[in-house]
Symmetry: C2
Subunit: 308 residues, 2 copies
C-alpha cells in the first residue's frame, strides 16, 4: 500500500536577517517553512504541523499550499503574533548572532497531527522545543516502516537536554551540525562524536558541515556528500532545514529507508540547500522549479564523478 506521507513539525515564523551586504526586513521564515518547501521537490504527500499568529498572511500559507502541502495542522491563533527571530551574520557568513527572539504564539504551541497523517511513513521533527517534538511522536499511529528524523541545535542542549535526549532515543536519523555534534557528545572529534550519538539512539547520524558538506555515519561506515561550491552565498538561513527537507521528502517518495536511500537523500538535501543559500530567506526555494532542483542534483553528480 502506497504511503508516501511526510509529517513535518517546526516553526513558521517571521525572520529579520542582516548579512554583511544586505538587510532582509521582516520576511517569511521558520524551520517547517524551509523543510516543507524543500521536501516538496519530491513526490511526497506532505503535511506541516505548526502554529502562526494573526499576522501570518494568506499569501505565506499559499506558498505551502501551492506546493501541495497540507496545512490543516497549522494552527492560526486569533490575536496572536507569529514567532519572530532576528539575526546578524558575521563577515564570513559561517557564524551569526541572535539579536532578538520573540516566541509569541510558539510559547503555548500544542501540536496536532491531522488524523490522515498519523500513520505517516516519514516524520521530520524540525528544530523546536523537544517537548513539542515528543508530543508529535505521542500522536502517531503505529507504522512498522516509519522513519523518524530529528533536527536540533545547541539551544535545546543547553536548556532541555534531558527531554532532548529522550526524543533522540526514539529517532532513526539525526541531523546536527559539526559543533553541535561535539557539544552533544562531549567529544572533540567528529568520528567519536558520531559513535557516541549512535549510542543515544539514532542508527543514522548525519553531521552537517555547511559549505564543507555532510557526513553520514551508519554502522561505523561513513559516507560523505560535498556541498556545491558557490560563487555567492547570500543568506545561509534555512540551509540546514532545506537539507532536512530534501532528505525527508525523498525518503517519503521512495517509501524505503535504508543506507542507500538515505545517502541519495543526503544529495537531495544538499541540492535543496544550494538553492536556499543563493538568495535571501525562502525566496530561492520558492522561485525554484523541479527542473532547477534536478539541475543542482546533476551538478552534484558531476562534482562527485571521476569519469565524465
Amino acid at each position: 500500500m502506497k504511503n508516501n506521507k511526510l509529517v513535518i513539525v517546526g516553526t513558521m515564523a517571521f525572520d529579520e536577517i542582516i548579512t554583511p551586504t544586505a538587510e532582509s526586513g521582516k520576511i517569511l521564515g521558520g524551520a517547517a517553512t524551509y523543510i516543507g518547501l524543500a521536501a516538496a521537490f519530491a513526490d511526497a504527500d506532505i503535511a506541516a504541523v505548526s502554529v502562526v499568529g494573526e499576522d501570518f498572511l494568506q499569501e505565506h500559507l499559499n506558498l505551502l499550499t501551492d506546493r501541495g502541502i497540507d496545512i490543516s495542522g497549522v494552527e492560526q491563533v486569533s490575536g496572536g503574533k507569529s514567532f519572530y527571530w532576528k539575526g546578524k551574520y558575521h563577515d564570513n557568513m559561517n557564524k551569526r548572532d541572535t539579536l532578538d527572539t520573540q516566541l509569541n504564539v510558539l510559547a503555548d504551541f500544542n501540536p496536532i497531527v491531522p488524523e490522515k497523517y498519523r500513520d505517516a511513513s516519514i516524520v521530520m521533527l524540525g528544530n523546536l522545543d523537544p517537548n513539542v517534538q515528543q508530543k508529535v511522536l505521542d500522536q502517531l499511529a503505529p507504522n512498522p516502516n516509519r522513519t523518524v528524523l530529528l533536527d536540533t541545535m545547541n539551544f535545546w542542549m543547553d536548556l532541555q537536554l534531558n527531554t532532548l535526549l529522550n526524543v533522540i532515543k526514539q529517532v532513526d536519523i539525526i541531523t546536527i551540525n559539526d559543533e553541535e555534534a561535539l557539544q552533544l557528545s562531549g567529544e572533540a572529534n567528529l568520528v567519536l562524536a558520531a559513535k557516541a550519538i549512535h549510542k543515544m539512539g539514532p542508527a543514522y547520524v548525519i553531521i552537517k558541515k555547511g559549505e564543507h558538506g555532510a557526513l553520514l555515519f551508519y554502522k561505523d561506515q561513513p559516507f560523505f556528500a560535498p556541498a556545491l561550491p558557490l560563487e555567492k552565498v547570500v543568506d545561509p538561513t534555512g540551509a540546514g532545514d532545506s537539507f532536512a527537507g530534501g532528505l525527508s521528502g525523498y525518503l517519503a517518495a521512495q517509501q524505503t529507508t535504508n543506507a542507500t536511500t538515505i545517502k541519495a537523500g543526503i544529495l537531495q538535501g544538499t541540492a535543496a540547500a544550494s538553492l536556499c543559500v543563493g538568495t535571501m530567506g525562502t525566496s530561492g526555494l520558492v522561485q525554484s522549479s523541479k527542473e532547477d532542483f534536478f539541475a543542482q542534483l546533476q551538478k552534484l553528480e558531476r562534482l562527485r564523478t571521476i569519469t565524465l
Copy 2:
C-alpha cells in the same frame, strides 16, 4: 615509449613538532621527503632533487632508496647543516606557529636535475623558494607530454610574489590550501579564487581544505574529493606534501594527464595524506605498505559511494 619518470624538487630537512599531546624531538621531514615517500606507492620512476647537510644520516637517505627513489640529485654539503624547522600546533590542529626556521644549506641550494630525469613526464615542484623551482624548470629537456605540478604557500606570496607568479605561469596543476588561494587571488570566495588562479596559468587548480577534503577546478567544472574521517590526527605536518606526492606519483605511473587521471590522482593523494597524519612525522608513510595504501583507497571509495 614508456616514460613514467617523476622529478621532485623540495626540501629534505629536520623538523621538531609540538602538538597538544606530543613532542617529536628532531625527526626527519621536508617536502621532498613526504612527496617522495607518498609518490612511491605508485609504479613511477622517481628522482628527488634536494640538498642536505652532513648531519643527514645514511638511514634517512635509505628510507628513500629503499622505495626505489633515485637520490643522485640530492646534494650533501660537507660541513653543512640540513634545513631545520620547528613548529607548534594549536589545540584544534588546524593552525600552527613556526617557532624556529634555520635555512642552513638550503640558503645556497642550486638544484641539479640528474641527466636521466631531464625528460621526465611529471615534474613536481614542492613548496620551496620559487627561484629554485624556476631553476629546475630551466634544466628540463623538451617533452611535449610533460605535466608540471606546483605546491606553494603564503610565505612565498609574501616574499617572492613576482618570481612565484612567473613560475605559476609555467605550471599545469597548482595545489594550494584554501586560505592561500584566497590570498593569492585577492578573492574572498574559493570559486572566484580558482577562476583568478586559472588566469595566472594553471589549467588545473586544486584547493586543499585539510580535513574538509580537496576541490579541483578545471574549465570551471569542479570536482570534490573528501578526506577520510579519522578518529585521531596525531600530526598534520606533511599532509599537503603527501597529497602532492600521491597525485604526482599516480600521474607518472598512468603516463596520461587529463581531468580523469587527475581526479583519480587526487584520491590517491588523499589516501597518502590519510596515512601521513595518523602518526608523527614521516613514520606513517614509512611504515605503510602498498596494501595499506590500497586499503585507504578502498575506504575512500566507500566514503564516496551510494550503493554498496
